[in-house]
Amino acid sequence: MDINLTIIGQSIAFAIFVWFCHRYVWPLFANILDERKRTIADGLEAAAQAELKLESANRESEQQLDEAKTSAAGIIDQANRRATQIIDEAKQQAQVEAERVMTAAQAEIEQEANRAREELRAQVSVIAIAGAEKILGREVDQAANEEMLSQLAGEL
């Protein structure tokens, strides 16, 4: 075995190569692998969080839907009640109005009848006098019979 300076040269080359690898080669790949590990871990975490978020969003939307349903039912109920109430009120008002109109009409009829009666009364005395004049053949003293005539008219 011829051992010579080559062994020293190889040792120096070895030292330089190890230094170079440690300084300029190893960190490049170590960083890349670290970065990839981090990216994957981040991705998985983000996915897990997204799932959680989705779940809570689903829950919230369900809750909101429930609330909306409840409030819609309430509104419909209220509207129904209000409609019934309005109809009732309208009926009541119509009845009141009808009664009022009827009362007014009756009063008018009565008034009309009274007036006709009054007119008739007034004319009865004239007719009676005219009739009596015909019968007696002479003029009846209106003033003298006034009392008797109005009594007669009042009896009608």
């Binding site: 010579n4 040269g9 690898c21 790949f29």
Partner: protein, 284 residues
């Protein structure tokens, strides 16, 4: 043996040529230059450098790191391309093994493991390049351009013990550094002296623990060298001895070697991590 000049070589010369290194060093007379024969290379002793294996080692390591950095700079976390996925799978493989075996806090260990694994894997993979392709072309260039007779050009760095021991001794230095850092000098020496049988058996403890410690870098470096050297040698024997019938044999051995190449790189990385992990453990 497909290239020119092979006819004039014996099988032995062929194999020796392929197992020699392109050596640049100091001749006995003091001047520096390339060794033209194995004898000249042997005379240089320690003051020499294997230009071929050293060059391939540095080229492969630099290519791996620059390529990884190039991919890393263009990489995106959200939209990785196929090449980025490939590099990331290697990264995660090494990171996972380190996380399993190394439980202490030291940001240097994982990059160290990645460097060791990919670098050794690439150096081992050079063993699967047919033995004469690059070596043959280099020999031709050496012959015609630089005037070599048979220029050796080894392309598998991990078949050079200098390369594997250079790695394992560097790791051994780190083992000692981290042992002393985490256990203290006393703790480290105490582990060697008092560990299995208590202080009254101190010489016996040292006899057990010191070889155990020294065996770590030696076994680490020699295991890798031995496996790859044996693989290379068998490829050379097939190429040198079987003539035209070598192709199926090459194929079978290459398939088997496909298992050895990544396995040895993995074993080297895992032992590095385990040894360094033990070095970080505080004394009991």
């Amino acid at each position: 043996m497909a290239e020119a000049g092979a006819e004039s070589q014996t099988v032995q010369e062929y194999i020796v040529h392929h197992l020699s290194y392109l050596t640049y060093g100091r001749f006995p007379d003091g001047h520096w230059g390339f060794a033209h024969t194995p004898e000249e290379a042997a005379e240089m002793g320690f003051m020499a450098i294997h230009v071929d294996t050293m060059g391939w080692s540095i080229a492969l390591g630099a290519a791996f790191l620059l390529w990884f950095r190039w991919i890393g700079l263009r990489a995106s976390a959200d939209n990785p391309g196929p090449i980025q996925n490939f590099v990331e799978s290697i990264f995660e493989f090494v990171d996972g093994r380190v996380a399993e075996s190394f439980t202490h806090k030291n940001s240097l260990i994982a990059p160290l493991a990645l460097t060791v694994f990919v670098w050794v894997l690439l150096m081992n993979t050079m063993d699967l390049v047919p033995v004469d392709w690059i070596t043959g072309i280099a020999a031709l260039i050496g012959e015609h351009v630089f005037g070599f007779d048979h220029m050796p050009f080894k392309i598998v760095p991990t078949t050079d013990p200098n390369i594997t021991m250079g790695l394992s001794l560097s790791i051994f230095a780190m083992i000692i550094w981290y042992s002393i850092k985490h256990k203290g000098l006393g703790g480290f020496l105490g582990e060697l002296a008092f560990h299995p049988f208590g202080k009254w058996m101190l010489p016996f403890n040292l006899m057990i623990e010191v070889p155990t410690l020294l065996a770590k870098p030696i076994s680490l470096g020699l295991r890798l060298f031995g496996n790859l050297y044996a693989g290379e040698l068998l490829f050379l024997l097939i190429a040198g001895l079987l003539g035209l019938y070598q192709l199926p044999a090459h194929f079978v051995w290459a398939v088997f070697h496909l298992l050895v190449v990544p396995l040895q790189a993995f074993v080297f990385m895992m032992l590095t991590v385990v040894y360094l992990s033990a070095a970080h453990e505080a004394a009991h």
